[in-house]
Amino acid sequence: MATREGPDDGRENTGPRPGDHTPWRRPAPGSRGQVPRRPAPPQPARRRYTGPIDNSAEKTQVFAPVGGSAEETQILAPVKAPTATKDRPGPAPLGKGGVAIRTAGEVLITLGLIVLLFMVYELYVTDLFSAGKQSEASDQLDGEWSHDRTLHPELVDGRAFARIHIPTFGVDYNFTIQEGTDDPSLEVGPGHYKGTSLPGEPGNFAVAGHRVGKGAPFNDLDNLSSCDQIVIETSTDFYVYKVLPYDDEVDGWTTGKGADPKCKGVPTLRDPNAESGGAYSETFGRKVVLPSEGTAVNPVPYKPAEVLPKAQQVALLTLTTCHPQFSARQRLIITSVLTQQVPKSQAANYTDLLPKIGEAR
């Protein structure tokens, strides 16, 4: 006893706090090694179970001896004491600061998880929601078409009025096109820029679509190449558009890629007599522009509306989506030109149409 208490006094200065957790391993066994030797006879049973309660006394006792090599050996040996493992799980009490730090850590981890969850939501869950809306819109459109075959459907915000097929993306690739480019429309599928032309009309039939999440109808738009076909289906007709030449293909188009039978009917839209190429000098199959470039959906892309009278305008189809993927820094613009119109009397459905426009199946 005397030997224990001596060290006690000296040790208290170095701090009871650090002793709070670590001492458990070292001191507890150490003390136990000593305990049985002296006080064991008087109260052997109690010592074993209530040992931990006496901590404070024992901890300090042990700390003192650490300095001496003799005591250290004592400590190691008793580690095997049977109660040593029982003592370990004793909770290490945290101070107020400790609790605050732990809580702050937990809050940060939670926020991180919420951000991850939001990514999952954006990439996958919105797809599920949109798939439901899309199939509903598609059924509704089929229903309307089976009843009523008016040439120019009434456009109602958020309601589907046409369907887009892109054979390059697979035979089953199709989405309904809704009127308007606001969020509710785009959640269903691609949306038609209000005020732009309708399918088949001269001018620019412009359509926006999501590239990530919400069904991502325009996810692969950057995989299109010039002359790839885009089919717009209305209640009465199929309008077949072909992607215009890209900017590195315009020069020498007629002898280059333009000579490919696949590109039949695809002009460069350049006016050889005009110095800069004419009204359509800025029109290419693919362009990456700033989000503020609203002129991309003008009747003559990137030119003021009055540059050409309506009668001289070409029937174009413009698709817009965000670029690069996962970002909204820029916009990807795909412009195509009308090359063919197939009434539904000649091709009852899309499967019948495909062989007629030279696509497989």
Binding site: F118, T126, H210, G213, E293, G294, C322, A328, R331
Partner: protein
């Protein structure tokens, strides 16, 4: 925080575990169906149109 919540859950271990799982699922559902749909239009990276 989590330790505190755990200590407030009633019953034996199994009941606590069930409770905790239900709580977590509830929070996830709340986020997915209420919070995220509300938050999303307020973020900028969903714009695909030119204007």
């Amino acid at each position: 925080m989590y330790a505190w919540i755990w200590s407030k859950l009633p019953g034996p271990f199994a009941a606590k575990l069930t409770c905790a799982v239900l709580l977590a699922l509830g929070v996830i559902a709340l986020l997915m169906f209420v919070v995220f749909p509300w938050l999303e239009p307020r973020l900028w990276f969903n714009e695909v149109a030119v204007n």
